[in-house]
Symmetry: C2
Subunit: 258 residues, 2 copies
């Protein structure tokens, strides 16, 4: 079936997802974004219409994908005439119920991946988590998700929240530590390229072993001399020194108690 879809939001996730849905038989009828630039950019890419006015979000689409920061929902969603269309958000941490005040038919479509406008990802490998307020709506979302991903499952709001938290640790926080490493190296005039193989291997290693078993380094060995040397050296990076200390302590306690 060719679902007629409206995207409310035009950020990284909206961009990747709308492009993928268009490739897989959905008709993207309109894009809403608060800013002209984002709305126009994504609409051009999808060869469709756009608006920057919440009250001009078109009525009667089959599905509305809400890919907005939740703090913006209240400025936008009450102005749209969703009627009995299916309204779906894409957030790991918002409950299904949070859409109830805006729409009669609600769902969640949460792809677990880090998106950027630039680099494209192989969507087929991305796990997508579905939830809906009725079996009928769930089936619609399962069918659409199955077109773009091989890893679709149903998950309730509570588990999805914890899944999102674990993704924040394993992706956003991890990436921040890459950034800290890059920053330290840059200030010493050392190329970040030297670290890239280690970063790859660290991610690869846990593809077939548990991270707790894979742990190496001074903290798990409780190598106090090295930790002290690092904390001394980080006196020139005070903003990273505290994180170093807390994380080392956390590793030590975690590994000791497991």
């Amino acid at each position: 079936m060719s679902y007629r879809v409206v995207f409310v939001g035009a950020g990284n996730l909206a961009t990747r997802l709308s492009v993928e849905l268009k490739k897989n038989g959905c008709i993207i009828e309109q894009v809403y974004s608060r800013t002209f630039k984002s709305a126009n950019r994504l609409a051009l890419r999808l060869k469709t219409y756009f608006t920057t006015s919440p009250w001009k979000i078109m009525p009667d689409a089959d599905i509305y994908f809400i890919a907005l920061k939740d703090s913006a929902w209240e400025d936008v969603l009450p102005h749209a005439a969703f009627g009995n269309s299916l309204v779906v958000h894409c957030s790991g941490s918002m409950s299904l119920n949070s859409l109830k005040k805006y729409a009669n038919n609600t769902g969640v479509f949460y792809p677990l991946q880090t998106f950027s406008k630039k680099s494209s990802v192989r969507f087929k490998q991305i796990p997508v988590f579905i939830e809906a307020n009725s079996k009928k709506n769930e089936d619609v979302l399962l069918e659409i998700a199955g077109r773009i991903s091989d890893k679709v499952s149903v998950m309730n709001s509570d588990n999805r929240l914890y899944l999102h938290i674990s993704a924040v640790f394993a992706c956003n926080f991890v990436n921040h530590f890459y950034a800290i490493a890059a920053d330290i190296l840059e200030k010493r005039g050392i190329s970040f390229d030297l670290l890239r193989p280690l970063i790859q291997e660290t991610a690869k290693k846990i593809q077939d072993t548990s991270p707790a078993e894979a742990q190496t380094g001074p903290a798990v060995r409780f190598d106090q001399n090295i930790i002290t040397a690092h904390l001394n050296a980080l006196q020139s990076f005070p903003e990273f020194r505290e994180i170093y200390k807390k994380t080392s302590e956390s590793i030590y306690h975690y590994q000791k108690n497991r």
Copy 2:
């Protein structure tokens, strides 16, 4: 040239490195480890001799590789008769000078990678950093390192320390966050397999972009609602809650000021 080599230490690094050196024309004449089990295991693998007594470390080898925790050096190294042989440590964070009290000819041979006894790594891709107390010793180490790695360079002790610190962030700390994510999921009955593609993509993404640019997630968006929801949910994981808070703050400040 067939260097005659003794390994002082039989942990993950010693295991990987000795196996690689043996494959590339070095003769591993002996392995020392404090414990019978480790010494015997590695010696069997290398088909060579071992000892658990520091004073039975054999004299007159060409090169001694010290792959011990530095806190164990003082118990072992004074008992070995190094004479004028080249004595090399493998630590990112120990200076070249720290070997001076034990030997006349000293060097550093630091492979930047996370090693485990189980999984083998493609050594050719691992950066190796060399330092030595003389040009002659430096040349010996550069030649040996060049046999097993395509990415050999000379680096002084001060820069190597910061390189090691950045590796602790990008590898050990990163892996701890994988472990935290796995732990949270396990306690919710959710499979860690769901996160593995995200972990791969996060590492892949920064192979051709800077980590600061690649950042996504609630902290960089300053999505206070989501952060609050996560902190509330983490009340059942108090040991991870503080790390979540500190790391989110660090991301926010880092991204704001760059």
